[in-house]
């Protein structure tokens, strides 16, 4: 036995050498693994980004407060009732009710106290108004009263700060004196803390200090609610007596007017007396003016429902009875047969007063969604233009037997016309339908701010707080921007209403044209090059150029498409040559056909190269077998080569189509519409595609467009995956059939 050649390693050297070889293999494997992980991470980052935008919290704020709509409707009913006397002057009300046993009225408890010798206060739902029943909510007709100012004003206007300090120091004595119910001690502390923290004096919550106003000057302007006015007036008198030298200007203008004077750049007042919380429109106006209102609850206003002391049949009313008394009932006996059949004399404080709002709100307590259809229609009538109303009514009637917006004669004419609108056939709108209309046309919920999914999940508390501060009237709701409605709706300039239906249709149409155009040509060219073309320099040049074409930037194809399909072939691509459009003036070449053909050109090289590879991969033995049986070349290709190359060709086609779906640049050049709401109805229609839609949305300034862009990306991905999956399924089926 001869010795093994010493040039091969032996023993320890061999072990070392093998270890080294394994090490090199491990290194290679680790590199590949790292590359794979990088790929997966990139994919995760992409998905994260998209999903983060597609779902998340939104602050939704109504353009018109639905409660205000209901209130306006109810107040109208109240004011329209017979025998109703309204007066801005409470004394007039007192005088009217005093001697009339069939009269009823309501106003601030303070006025009742002043006139308690003349009037009788009623229990409401068996609760007598008292500080306790008002504060704990047992008494129905009680509400908090507010002062509104801002931290800036407190810090920059010493007089206001001192005025508010004095106000809050002497609040409960004054309030009781004026006739309102005071707030509880805890509530008072809370309000005092608001002053302390915002006073700019470096005080913390709980560090209440009473400041002596003696000798201090400046100017304090107060405007707003007549309900709060007496308190403020009493405070002003008190502080004046304490030696406060400031000029205090009190204005009794109503809460709404008070906020109007306050929430503007040229602020007319320092403090607002308010008998209700600030509403969203006022808050927005304040914020636009750079003000951040602070609310201070100063008292509980309680409405007294009063009758004459001569009234012997009424000591208690329920909410339901009050509603009847002030609206539908004519006589007292209508409410309760045991009561006299005398006409009800209804007294109401002024139509513009906060007291009426409060009373109406409280006794009706109706939600927009609970309103009957008639009321909803009435709200529509009051809030939308007749033109819009007519359009809506032509789409579908509100009632079978009467018309709300439309002239009956005209409507009949329209329905008898050559092309009657759908509304003539359809049944009358349902209550739910009208409610949706009110929401869409009047309430108009608007997304004022959005948050990403991750923020929504992990910063919920902060977001809720932010919304409470910045958008007190907005509702925070979790929203998926990707909804069935999003997929089914056409484009819109309102992100909440915008959808991708038009874009999906456009994309699908274009893909159809692209496939129809490029698949046969691509496969045909591949067959020619692979099976028929002789190996000469011309054909080699052609093949090289096809490979190069696959690398040409897509925008270049866009230019080509613009030059050839849109311009030169305009008569064909616009459909004019087929008589499908009336004139070339209305239709240019910027149609689905042009885009489809352009994308077809774009993917043609890919298709050819892939199909060539697939055809090349068909074993030669198959061709020989076919030919040896006396088949012609074409028969062999058609029956054997193509079917066997088909799976490979399909794979290439899938890749190419996927690229085409995602293309944006050439489509832009060829002239996709950026804003189009009409679905394409054929190959000669204008169009937009999903990528264009996404591109357009991402360049819009409003945040919500980014959310729907993300949702559209999800739609695009789903569309791509669906197309690919169906192509793969088709491919697998053909493969199974063949082998």
């Amino acid at each position: 036995m001869s010795r093994i050649t010493p040039s091969f390693p032996e023993g320890a050297d061999l072990e070392q050498q093998i270890t080294n070889r394994h090490r090199r293999g491990t290194l290679g494997r680790l590199l590949f693994q790292a590359a794979t992980i990088v790929g997966i991470l990139a994919l995760i980052a992409l998905l994260y980004n998209i999903l983060n935008q597609t779902f998340g919290l939104t602050a939704v704020q109504n353009e018109v407060d639905p409660d205000a709509l209901v209130l306006a409707l109810d107040e109208e009913k109240l004011l329209a009732a017979s025998n109703t006397i309204t007066s801005e002057d409470d004394n007039e009300l007192v005088a009217g009710i005093e001697d009339d046993p069939y009269a009823i009225g309501f106003f601030g408890y303070a006025y009742y106290l002043q006139n308690q010798d003349k009037l009788k206060v009623l229990e409401v739902e068996n609760v007598t108004p008292s500080p306790e029943s008002a504060e704990n909510g047992d008494y129905l007709l009680a509400r908090p009263l507010y002062l509104y100012t801002t931290a800036d004003i407190l810090q920059n206007n010493q007089a206001v700060s001192i005025f508010v300090n004095y106000y809050l120091s002497h609040l409960n004595e004054v309030v009781t004196e004026v006739g309102y119910f005071p707030v509880s001690q805890e509530a008072l502390y809370a309000v005092q803390d608001v002053w302390a923290v915002n006073s700019g004096l470096g005080l913390q919550a709980g560090q209440w200090t009473t400041i002596d106003p003696n000798g201090l000057g400046g100017m304090v302007r107060v405007a707003g609610s007549s309900t709060v006015f007496p308190i403020t007036e009493a405070v002003a008198t008190g502080i004046g007596a304490a030696g406060f030298a400031a000029d205090i200007r009190l204005e009794n203008s109503g809460t709404t007017a008070g906020f109007r004077a306050f929430c503007q750049r040229n602020r007319q007042t320092d403090i607002v007396n308010a008998s209700r919380p600030i509403n969203s429109a006022e808050f927005e106006a304040c914020r636009d003016a750079g003000l951040r209102p602070l609310a201070l609850v100063v008292a509980i206003d309680t409405l007294a429902v009063v009758v004459s002391q001569e009234n012997s049949f009424l000591d208690n009313v329920t909410q339901e009875e009050l509603r009847q008394i002030y609206t539908t009932a004519e006589r007292w006996s209508d409410v309760d047969p045991n009561r006299p059949a005398e006409l009800i004399h209804r007294y109401i404080p002024g139509a513009d007063s906060g007291t009426l709002d409060f009373f109406t709100e409280t006794i009706f307590q109706a939600d927009l969604a609970d309103l009957p259809k008639d009321d909803l229609v009435e709200i529509l009538q009051a809030n939308i233009s007749v033109g819009l109303g007519r359009r809506i009514e032509r789409d579908q009637r509100f009632y079978e037997d009467q018309f709300v917006f439309e002239d009956p004669a005209l409507f009949a004419e329209v329905c008898a016309g050559a092309e009657p609108p759908a509304g003539c056939e359809l049944e009358a709108r349902s209550e739910a339908n009208v409610y949706q209309l009110v929401l869409a046309e009047v309430v108009k919920p608007d997304v004022v701010k959005t948050w990403s999914l991750v923020d929504s999940l992990f910063k919920r508390q902060e977001i809720a707080q932010l919304v409470a501060e910045d958008y007190p009237n907005a509702e925070l709701e979790f929203r998926s921007w990707l909804t069935a409605q999003f997929v089914a709706s056409p484009q819109s300039s309102t992100p909440e209403l915008a959808g991708v239906r038009t874009a999906i249709m456009g994309s699908l149409w274009i893909i159809l044209i692209t496939i129809v155009f490029s698949f046969p040509i691509g496969v045909g060219a591949a067959i020619y090059l692979q099976e028929y073309a002789t190996d000469n320099w011309i054909n080699r040049l052609i093949e090289t150029n096809i490979s190069n074409l696959a690398g040409v930037p897509s925008i270049v194809y866009g230019m080509l498409g613009l030059a050839i399909f849109v311009r030169v072939l305009e008569p064909i691509t616009s459909g004019a040559a087929f008589g499908l459009v009336e004139s070339t003036a209305s239709a240019n070449g910027r149609t689905i056909v042009s885009a489809g053909l352009t994308l077809g050109l774009l993917i043609l090289p890919l298709l050819i190269i892939n199909a060539q590879e697939a055809i090349k991969a068909v074993p030669n033995s198959l061709r020989q077998a076919g030919m040896a049986l006396g088949a012609t070349k074409w028969q062999t290709i058609w029956h054997h080569v193509l079917p066997n190359a088909l799976p490979g060709i399909m794979t290439g086609t899938i890749l190419a189509i996927s690229r085409a779906i995602g293309e944006t640049a050439p489509i832009v050049v060829v002239g996709a519409s950026t804003f189009i709401t009409v679905d394409p109805n054929g190959p000669f229609a204008k169009f937009t595609t999903l990528p264009i839609q996404i591109y357009q949305w991402t360049s819009r300034p409003q945040d919500e467009f980014r959310n729907i862009a993300a949702a559209a990306i999800v739609v695009l991905l789903i569309l791509l995956l669906t197309l690919n999956a169906s192509a793969v399924l088709l491919r697998n089926r053909t493969t199974r059939r063949l082998s």
Binding site: N620, Q624, A625, M627, A628, L629, G630, A631, H639, S739
Partner: protein
Amino acid sequence: MTSTSTNGTYAIEANNMHVFYGSFRAVKDISLKFPAHQITALIGPSGCGKSTVIRSFNRMNDLVATARVEGEVLYQGSNIYSHNVDPVEVRRRIGMVFQKPNPFPKTIYENVAWGARINGYKGDMDGLVEGALRQAALWDEVKDKLQQSGFSLSGGQQQRLCIARTIAVKPEIILMDEPTSALDPIATLRIEELIQELKKNYTIIIVTHNMQQAARASDYTAFFNMDTDRAGYLVEYDQTNDLFTNPKNEMTEQYITGRFG
């Protein structure tokens, strides 16, 4: 021992045939006559051009872009390489079975029927398929699974399927290019038996690497060798019995006794 008599007619003959691949001459100056209804074996060392020769007999070399044939191959009195002859018809008359079984990726039935159908056969297709499969001694094995893929068969069965497929278009000559080289001995034996059966109806030319096969299965044997310029040429052609027992050429003797090749 197989019959060595001829009835004096030749199915096909090559006269001074040269085959080129581009500028390379692969085979030179072959003149051979193949008796009808006989089995002729082509033997010789690797690279001597046996396959090139056999593929020239039904113009399969046309599939190679650079291939070129000089001289003439006479079939039924005319040169199959003349301009007015369509290679499609040549291949219809002169079938071929390849080295590796190459059934179509179709059903067994379709494998057999396809050739007949594209050649315009209008008769009873089921009968034709059955007949071809019976002739190829495959019928009993596949009659219950005609709709299964041809690939579901074993290698030997696949090769018999290829033979059935060739028979189905009713050729006169069947060329076989090492039909058993990819098969195990049992399958090989079955093919050899089959070839003996087919001899009654067809003229068979078979290329083989296996001298035992040539010796036991053929009536005539042609021995090829490679020249110094790597071109194949015919060394000796005789009845198989004579060639193996009494080779006239020294090279033939060396080859059949296993001293080279």
